[in-house]
Symmetry: C2
Subunit: 404 residues, 2 copies
C-alpha cells in the first residue's frame, strides 16, 4: 500500500492537468489548482475500520494527503480536534443537536495549523527553501512555526491591525516579518513582488495547491467522528474560504468512495457585515464576488475583501443548497460572551459569528430544530484578548473580597 | 462494570479514611487527601486493549477517575494531548530520545484544564453551587470556564501580575474575579476568609482532592502513548506540584495493576531560581519546604513560594531517584526561543524551563544520551506574549520588503 494516493493536479476551471512532483502554483488560466487522488484504488485498498487504531492527528488520513514520503511529514500532533456537544446553547437557540468542532485545540491555537502542516510538509518534499505569504495573522503564525520545524525560511507580511500575538508567533519562530499599513490584499501585492524579485515559493492562499488538503482533514475527521453519517448543516466562518472549500472537497472524495451517502450537508459561509463579498455574491446569485471596499470587522480572520477562491466557495454553497450569512460585530461579540458563560468555551470572534449565524438561520426556519448542526470554531479566544473587557477590583493584602 | 472504581479518600500522612460521597477538603491533621480506587477489581475487569477504541480525551480513563455518574461529566474534549518528538533539539542537547507532551493543546491552552474538568465534574456530582480559589492565572481561567459549563458559580482571586489574558478568560466566563496586590499565597488567605464567610467550596490547590485526579491522566496517557513502556526521565515545571504528584500517582496505580513494570521514571521537579523552595528542600534532603521569601520569575505559573503538597512532591522525587533543578529566567527564555526556532513549538516559559533543565542534566551526565526523556510543556506560548519582543518594520502600501 502506498502512503499517499495522490495522482496529479487539476484546474477546476479549464481542466488542465499538472504533474504532482513539480512545483506548481496557479493554472496558466489563473485559477487555483486542486490535488487529485486515485480514489478508486484507495477505495479498494482501505476500509473505514482500518482507521480506528491510527494515530490521533490529521496524518491518520495520509492516503488522502499529498505527501508521498513519510520522512517529509512535519507534524506537531495537529488534528483530531474534539467535536463538543453544545446542549445548553442549542436549547437556547432551539437546536437540539448542536455541536462545535473546536479548531482552537491545535498548535498555534487556530485551524491554520492544518494547512501549514500539510503545506510545509509538501514544500519540504518539493525541495522548497523559502516560502513567502500575506496573512491576516493566524496563517502567518502557523506557517512560520511549521517552516521553522522543517528548516524552511519564511517571509511573512501582515496588516498592522492583525492580532498582536500573531506577530510574536512569527518572530519567535524566526520568520522575516513585515507589517503593512493596509489590508491582506495589500500584503498580497507586496508578497507577489517579493516572490518575483527573490525567487521565493508563493504560499499565498490557494496560490499553492496543498494548504486546502490540510484543511480538508476537518471534513474527514468530522465524517469519522460522526461515524460516517453526516450532519444536516455545517457553518464555517469564511475569509479566504479555504476551510469551506476543503471540507467540501473532503465530502466529495468520501462520497466518491462510497464512505458517505445521500445529500451532502448544507454548507453555510459566514462573514461579517463589515466584509461580506461572498454573501453579496450569493444574494445576487453570482458565481464570483466583487472586491469589498473599506472592509472592517473585529473578526480579523474574515476580513478578506476579495478571495481568489471565491468561485469555489460559491460553488460549494450552490451545490449543497447552502447559503451565506453576514453577522455584525456587536452580535458576534454578544454570542462570544454567551457561549463562554453557558458553555465554558472561550472562542474566537470568527467562530462566534458562525454560532450567531446558526441562531439567525434557526430563527428564519432555514434550519429545523431536529437537524444536526456543526459549527466550526476556527481558533482560541485567547488569541483575541480585546474581545473581552476586564476591570476587576484590586485588593490589598488581607482585604476581604466582595460578592455580587 | 462500574463507570468509576473510586472507593474512598485517604490521608497520606495519618492514614485516616473518608467517604467518597461527601464533601471533604483537608484531613483533620491538615494534610491533603488522596482518592483511592478498587484497583484489584479494576485490574480484573479491564485490560489495556479495552482502551483502544475509546474517545480521545481524558475520560477514556473514567474507571480511574472519581466521577461515578457519566451525567456529571463536564467536558470540552480535554486530554490525549500529543507526544511530540523533539529530534532536532534532542540532537543539539545530546539526547537521542527526547519528547514533549504538549499540554497547550487543551481548552484554555494550559494543563490546568485537566484538573478543572475533573474537579468541576466531581463538584457537580457533590452538589456544589459555588467554588472559590486563588490562582496564578491559568487555573482560575480553566476553573471559571468549566464552572460556567457546569452551571456552577466561581469566585477567583489572582495576583495583579498574573498573565493578563487569564483575567479575561475568568471575566468572559462570568466569574467573580478579584486581583490582589501580592502573591498567590496572599490570594489564598483572602479565599480562605471568603470560604469561611460565605460558605463556598474551597477549590484551592490540593484543598479539594479531585484536581490531582485530573492531572493524573497525564501519566495515564503517557503510559498508553508509550505502549506501557515508561520513559527513563520525566521533567515537570513545578509550582503547586499537582502535575508531578498526579503523574506519580498514575504510575503507582498502573504499577499496582501490573500494567507497567520495573523502575518508575526518575521524576524531575523544575523551578525558577527566583522561586525554588522544592529545589532547596531537595538539596537539603528535607521532606518539606520552607516559604521562599521575595519570589520572582517570568514563569508565573511556578511562582509558588510554599506549596501545600510540597511533601508529596519531594516524596515522588525521592522514591523515583529523581531530582529538582532551578533555572534562571534568562536561560528559560533563551530555551523558549531555541525551541520555537528549531522545533516550531511556541511553548510557555514554564515548559521552556523544563527543557532547559533537561539540557543541564544532560550536561551534568545525570541523564544519559540513550535515555528516553519526556518534558511536559504545561501551556501555550500565546498566553505569554511578553516572552517575545517584536519590532517588525512597517511598510506603506506598495512598498517592497527587505530580506535579511
Amino acid at each position: 500500500m502506498r502512503y499517499s494516493y495522490v495522482s496529479h493536479l487539476e484546474c477546476p476551471k479549464c481542466d488542465l492537468i499538472y504533474r504532482k512532483d513539480e512545483v506548481h502554483h496557479l493554472c496558466e488560466c489563473g485559477s487555483p489548482l486542486l490535488v487529485r487522488y486515485d480514489l478508486e484504488a484507495l477505495g479498494r485498498d482501505i476500509k473505514p475500520d482500518a482507521l480506528v487504531e491510527r494515530e490521533q492527528n490529521l496524518w491518520r488520513y495520509h492516503e488522502w494527503l499529498p505527501v508521498e514520503d513519510t520522512a517529509n511529514v512535519v507534524s506537531l500532533g495537529e488534528g483530531m480536534t474534539p467535536l463538543v456537544p453544545m446542549a445548553k446553547l442549542g436549547k437556547e437557540i432551539g437546536l437540539f443537536h448542536l455541536y462545535m468542532k473546536d479548531e482552537g485545540m491545535v498548535p498555534s491555537g487556530s485551524f491554520k495549523a492544518r494547512g501549514a502542516a500539510v503545506g510545509i510538509s509538501k514544500a519540504k518534499e518539493l525541495g522548497v527553501e523559502e516560502i513567502a505569504m500575506p496573512t491576516n495573522g493566524n496563517a502567518g503564525a502557523a506557517w512560520s512555526l511549521y517552516a521553522a520545524r522543517a528548516g524552511i525560511k519564511a517571509t511573512i507580511v501582515m496588516p498592522v491591525d492583525a492580532p498582536e500575538i500573531t506577530r510574536r508567533e512569527c518572530v519567535v519562530a524566526g520568520a522575516n516579518l513585515h507589517l503593512i499599513d493596509g489590508l491582506i490584499s495589500d500584503a498580497g501585492k507586496t508578497v507577489a513582488q517579493a516572490v518575483k524579485d527573490f525567487g521565493l515559493y508563493d504560499a499565498s492562499t490557494l496560490k499553492e495547491p496543498y494548504r486546502i488538503e490540510g484543511k480538508k482533514t476537518m471534513g474527514l475527521e468530522l465524517a469519522e467522528q460522526m461515524n460516517w453519517a453526516m450532519p444536516n448543516v455545517i457553518l464555517y466562518p469564511t475569509g479566504g474560504g479555504v476551510g469551506l472549500i476543503g471540507i467540501y472537497k473532503a465530502l466529495l472524495e468520501l462520497k466518491e468512495m462510497g464512505w458517505i451517502e445521500g445529500n451532502l450537508p448544507r454548507l453555510v459561509a459566514v462573514q461579517s457585515t463589515g466584509c461580506a463579498p461572498i454573501v453579496q455574491a450569493w444574494q445576487d446569485k453570482k458565481s464570483s464576488s466583487d472586491y469589498w471596499e473599506n472592509s472592517e470587522t473585529q473578526a480579523f480572520g474574515i476580513n478578506v475583501p476579495k478571495a481568489i477562491g471565491d468561485f469555489l466557495v460559491l460553488d460549494a454553497i450552490y451545490q449543497t443548497n447552502g447559503c451565506a450569512v453576514a453577522i455584525d460585530d456587536q452580535t458576534m461579540l454578544k454570542e462570544l460572551h454567551t457561549i463562554a458563560q453557558i458553555e465554558g468555551a472561550f472562542i474566537c470572534p470568527e467562530g462566534a459569528a458562525a454560532f450567531a449565524a446558526a441562531r439567525e438561520l434557526k430563527n428564519k426556519a432555514w434550519i429545523g430544530e431536529e437537524e444536526t448542526v456543526v459549527v466550526l470554531n476556527t481558533g482560541q479566544g485567547i488569541k483575541y484578548p480585546d474581545t473581552v473587557e476586564s476591570h476587576p477590583p484590586v485588593l490589598k493584602k488581607g482585604e476581604p473580597l466582595t460578592r455580587p
